[in-house]
């Protein structure tokens, strides 16, 4: 779908610049218009933002990823390597 001069492909390709507020005003207006009229790109934008938000769940505390202890062979290897 081409809304004014913007295709969905172009919208998605430059979406990061749009979100970051880095597009020149004329281009930004084209993106705004495309969003008003293209349901698919509205859904894409929301899910892209949600993706970044979900990544945030992995920040800080790694939760279950952290093993209870370092494997003994690794402890031994590190101690031996340090001794060299």
């Amino acid at each position: 779908m081409r809304i004014f001069s913007l295709t969905c492909r172009e919208f998605i390709e430059f979406l990061d610049g749009y979100i970051a507020g880095e597009l020149p005003p004329v281009q930004r207006k084209e993106f705004d218009w495309h969003l008003r009229l293209c349901r698919s790109c509205r859904a894409y934008l929301r899910s892209y933002r949600e993706t970044v938000r979900l990544e945030g769940l992995l920040r800080g505390d790694p939760g279950r990823e952290v093993p209870e202890s370092v494997p003994e062979e690794l402890v031994a290897a590190i101690l031996a390597a340090r001794g060299r």
Binding site: R9, I12, S40, Y48, E50, T51, V52, L74
Partner: protein, 199 residues
């Protein structure tokens, strides 16, 4: 700024004095978290353990430059991330799924095919938080290495574009391009689990 407690200060003094038991304590205390971080960057367990080993050895060599008032854990974390990136730069590329497989597809006239559909209002409404995190972890795991590294650095480790460029050895523009493609690919991988079943 939170500074180190007395316990950490004491450990630091003992490490600087070359106390072997202090070093072993450090490995056992900080090692699990570092191993988790390295496993994120390096999918191979052997590579992750190598990176952890290198991180501790590197830390001991550069202890003299450790900034008092910083946290040992934070400092070690940064060293471990650097070790992972060094490993990624030097190791042979393993076969992996091309990122194009996960990017959105378009018709000849620029239409997205299939069109995007809304996601559920919030992933956590549907799943337990840890389940959601596992789905996201698994999806990140599938990204090709060079894209995964940028995504982990920028979005998880919250390293700046400039710093990420320096660490990886690419331009800032290349970091931005890779990050956007990585996010698109991740979105594509998460679309299945989180898309609303009915349009």
């Amino acid at each position: 700024m939170n500074g180190p407690g007395d316990g950490e200060q004491d450990l630091l003094e003992r490490l600087l004095a070359g106390d072997d038991r202090a070093f072993e304590s450090l490995i056992r205390e900080q090692g699990p978290r570092l191993l988790a971080v390295c496993r994120r960057f390096l999918r191979n367990e052997e590579d992750a353990r190598d990176a952890v080993q290198e991180a501790f050895c590197s830390a001991v060599r550069s202890l003299g430059g450790f900034e008092r008032g910083s946290r040992l854990a934070t400092w070690l974390h940064r060293i471990a991330v650097n070790c992972c990136l060094m490993k990624l730069r030097t190791q042979r590329r393993r076969p992996e799924e091309p990122i194009e497989d996960f990017l959105p597809k378009f018709s000849d006239n620029g239409h997205q095919v299939p069109p995007s559909r809304p996601w559920k209002a919030s992933a956590e409404e549907v799943l337990e938080r840890e389940e959601t995190r596992q789905i996201v972890r698994d999806a990140i795991e599938r990204l090709p290495e060079s894209y995964r590294a940028v995504l982990l650095l920028r979005d998880i480790e919250e390293v700046s574009t400039a710093e990420a460029a320096r660490l990886i050895g690419i331009s800032e523009n290349a970091v931005k391009i890779r990050l956007h493609r990585a996010r698109q690919a991740l979105r594509g991988l998460l679309d299945g689990p989180f898309r609303r079943r009915r349009p």
